[in-house]
Amino acid sequence: MALSLTPVWRWFHRWTSPPNFYRISRPWAHGLMAVGGTALFVAWIWGLVFAPEDYLQGNSYRIIFVHVPSASASLALYLTMAITAVISLVWKIKLADMVIRQCIPVGLTLTALALISGAIWGRPTWGVYWIWDARLTSMLLQLFLFIGMWAIHTAIDQQKLADRATAILVLVGFVNLPIIKWSVDWWNTMHQPATIRITGETTMVWEMLAPLLLSMAATYCVVAALVLYRTRWEILYRERKTRWVQDELGIRGKA
């Protein structure tokens, strides 16, 4: 069994080696950013200028084109981090730790953006900025999880220990993810349940749904690009004492 897996294993190790990942991730980062940035611009114009207003909420609903993509991307990013944390803890892949470290600031801002845009949307819609509802509270907990990861990684000086502690916190906090996702179904929340459903009926007119789906796809692309760009700098920083990084940046000693 172990023997038959050897080529796959070797390929995986070579593929995740920092210099190789640095090299192959470059076109992906640029491509995703170009496509995502353009699509986001189009989706915003579409959502802000051309989509009709909501018969109940008026124009305030246009916040949805920021709120839903950022919330959804923050959950997807957390899921990615949890999978990466398992890879880090089980197979001790250096790249996995770098990816997790650089997902933290991105996830933190996505979660904050979802909370802030939701609060601003809540004022004209519910009459309050904040309410201790299950969806909002579990999302706030996710924000604290990201802050906690950042704090732990910064506080521990020894790199390996910091990476390990962060990966464990990611996995501990993973229980919060299904709570966020299904809070609107499990409890009677002020927050409405999902409008877009993969199974079942999507209760949204096409003129609003199309720019929303586009802005979601665009946000996913931009977030992926951002994580790639950040990871690439993290690779250069952690491998700064190696020859290939010094060659890459053109900073070399006297040889």
């Binding site: 951002l226 700098w233 993290e234 920083y237």
Partner: protein, 58 residues
Amino acid sequence: MGYFDSFADFVRMGNHGIFVWSVYAITVLTILGHWLGLRLQRRRVINELQRLKKRGHL
């Protein structure tokens, strides 16, 4: 202009302008913040390497 009758209507967003526009402004600032963050990461690596070089560790 698109769904709206005039540019003024578009800005007003039926009295929800302040809510809609503040959300989009915060989002743009967040994106700019991330762009700055990437510049800082770049600075950090280059500074660290130049420091090592100066001390003769390279």
